[in-house]
């Protein structure tokens, strides 16, 4: 038996005799889509790198409700957004074998992917566009004799699920090819409905609070085809729909240190999402098809978020900087014992993250124009071994004041990041359905997005 023959036998045995019901899943099955996918709202803020904690308009309802107190007129703000999301995936020429039979899973890294096979295609790229309503907020200042009291209600699209991923790799040998192709299509997002109030506590200090209700839907579609040496033909499709509903609240302060400098801080309570998940699946294996259905309910608890911001005004120019801190390792599943089992994995996969945004605005008064630019670091909330390069980006923006009652703002945001993940190629189970081992490919993803925000506000 030649070396190639023995490899072929291994591959054939590998795909024929080992069950693969769980193939085509990431090792980070624990990955929670609602974590760390803040989308952003308000073209003015997004034009300044997303620095919004000290920006004064209706989006303060979500960024910093204390700053509602700085709005002197009845305002209606409406925004839309467009995103071009691009993902380029590459399969590394190595694989990992994970042995789950021990107390702590043992990982053995092998190279090359399969001996005797040469990679023909290892990377693929795809993109998708989405246009969404981004925000609609009305703020009503109550007439005051001293101080300020402003009420705001509205909705903003705060978390984005619009993503795409495509996998395409071909290994060739004298005996034939192993061809694997997968495409993952995700869409949806979370809308944050808010009602809040901002009140002046003194000429320099404003307090704000808001209650938020989150609703949203995540549609996940995974298609995977594997053809191994013309011996195994395998097709799988999963359609998963998650419906989210949750609520939380935010308390905020805005303080003017002097005529030019102001600071703000907010604390956002954990969000408790209730998730209803419905799965419809289909498998076709060597001509035999089967389908499956599942429905589960569980809770996701997103941790506290603490934010701070500063703004400085120099005549026609404003500089703003924001940060926020979230310890994503405190993310938790609940109300479902199977999901709660993932909580240990969450602590291994997620970590805390500090987002930083910095931006500026320059006003050309006579022209009624504002020019903006910004930079931001928005770290992926996962451990560094899963990150190739962290998420950061820049933004540009322009705003117009029309008459004395209306603004139109436009912002362009570009960001990129790189990450790696395990792709479980095949799984071995024992008779009790416990995973014994898995063969994983390592996939690198280069992700980038361009976002456009268009917001208009009318002050009555």
């Amino acid at each position: 038996m030649t070396r190639h023959s023995s490899v072929a036998v291994f591959i054939i045995l590998f795909f024929i005799f080992l069950p693969i019901t769980n193939s085509a899943q990431y090792i980070e099955q624990v990955e929670e889509i609602s974590a760390g996918n803040f989308f952003g709202y308000g073209a003015r803020q997004m034009g300044m790198g997303g620095a919004g904690i000290m920006a004064i308009d209706g989006t303060a309802l979500f960024y910093n409700p204390a700053n509602l107190a700085r709005i002197p007129r009845i305002e209606f703000i409406f925004g839309i957004s467009n995103q071009n999301y691009r993902d380029r995936s590459s399969v590394r020429p190595i694989r990992k074998i994970v042995d789950y039979g021990t107390a702590i899973a043992q990982v053995e890294t092998l190279s090359p992917r399969f001996q005797g096979f040469l990679p023909v295609q290892t990377s693929e790229e795809d993109s998708k566009n989405n246009t969404r309503i981004n925000s609609a907020i009305i703020t009503v200042p109550y007439p005051t004799y001293r101080g300020s009291m402003v009420i705001g209600i509205g909705v903003a699209r705060s978390v984005d699920f619009d993503k795409i991923f495509i996998l395409n790799h071909i290994d060739t040998s004298e005996l034939g090819d192993i061809i694997a192709a997968g495409s993952e299509f995700q869409s949806g997002g979370l809308y944050q409905w808010g009602a809040g109030i901002g009140i002046d506590l003194s000429p320099r200090i404003a307090f704000g609070g808001a209650l938020y209700l989150y609703t949203g839907k995540h549609d996940y579609d995974w298609n995977y085809d594997l053809d191994s040496l013309n011996i195994l033909s395998y097709t799988k499709e999963d359609l998963i729909t998650d419906n989210y509903i949750g609520f939380n609240m935010k308390a905020a302060l805005s303080v003017r240190l002097n005529q030019a400098v102001a600071i703000g801080m907010t604390a956002e309570t954990p969000i408790s999402f209730n998730v209803e998940e419905e799965l419809n699946g289909y498998v076709l294996e060597n001509g035999a098809d089967s389908s499956y259905y599942d429905y589960i309910e569980y809770n996701v608890k997103k941790p506290f978020v603490f934010s701070g911001g500063i703004s400085a005004q120099f005549n026609n120019a404003v500089l703003m900087a924001d940060f926020d801190y979230t310890d994503w390792s405190q993310l938790e599943y609940g109300d479902n014992i199977d999901m709660e089992a993932y909580n240990d994995d969450i602590r291994l996969y997620y970590e805390d993250a500090v987002r930083f945004r910095f931006g500026g605005e320059y006003v050309i008064p006579k022209a009624g124009l504002s020019l903006r630019a910004g930079y931001f670091i928005d770290p992926l909330p996962i451990k560094s071994e899963f990150i190739n390069n962290n998420r950061n980006g820049y933004s540009l923006g322009v705003g117009m004041l029309i008459d004395q009652v209306m603004t139109i703002d436009l912002a362009f945001v570009h960001a990129s990041s790189g990450r790696n993940s395990d792709f479980i190629y095949s799984t071995e189970y024992d008779s009790s359905d416990n995973i014994l081992s898995s063969h994983n490919l390592i996939i690198d993803e280069d992700i980038s997005y361009n976002r456009l925000f268009l917001t208009t506000a009318y002050r009555f």
């Binding site: 002197p72 506590l201 005529q259 005004q313 026609n316």
Partner: protein, 184 residues
């Protein structure tokens, strides 16, 4: 979560009822208290009034808010200080042109800075001094300063002029002033 909600709600309620800085209703004035008394005594409570030309908005007023007032109007002018839309005395008819935009100026002159966006309940009345009289319109620096010069007669004449002007204006503005808290 439930505990956090209760704490949050209680905090808001306490702020609203604890007599914080923000006042939604003016403290009741004595009966038979006429508009002149009202103005004369304003500084008893509002000593720092002119430090805040928008009444409540403590912040930076960039220079361009003055040279192109529509920015100031957009960002800082409370809606309840606007003229009624049906009021014939509405001044800001051309809100598209900063050069034409001259709020609170009835003489056709461009108003001085601090006067430009003064609250309507002092409309037509020159800033009040601590001595109870009236100074020239404006107070560019925005601070209230006692009138340091001028004889009593001169002051009296000025006061009388101002009072005549006030009375005329009051007749026009009484309806607005009631709503905005300045007149009776």
């Amino acid at each position: 979560m439930r505990k956090a909600f209760v704490i949050f709600a209680v905090s808001i309620l306490l702020l609203l009822i604890s007599g914080c800085y923000t006042i939604l209703q003016h403290p009741a004035a004595e009966e038979n208290y006429d508009a002149d008394d009202y103005r004369a005594d304003c500084l008893g409570c509002h000593t720092d009034y002119h430090e805040y030309p928008y009444g409540y908005f403590y912040g930076n007023y960039p220079n361009f808010w003055w040279s192109t007032p529509r920015w100031g109007h957009y960002y800082a002018y409370p809606w309840w200080w606007d003229n009624y839309w049906y009021d014939g005395s509405r001044i800001n008819s051309d809100i598209n042109d900063d050069d034409e935009y001259s709020p609170r100026s009835s003489s056709g002159e461009k108003v001085v800075r601090r006067d430009a966006l003064r609250p309507p309940y002092t409309m037509g009345v020159t800033p009040i001094t601590r001595s109870g009289g009236a100074s020239d319109a404006g107070s560019e620096g925005g601070n209230v300063s006692p009138k340091a010069s001028g004889s009593d007669n001169q002051k009296k004449q000025e006061d009388e002029k101002a009072q005549d002007k006030n009375e005329k204006k009051e007749a026009e503005d009484n309806k607005k002033a009631t709503r905005r808290g300045g007149g009776r």
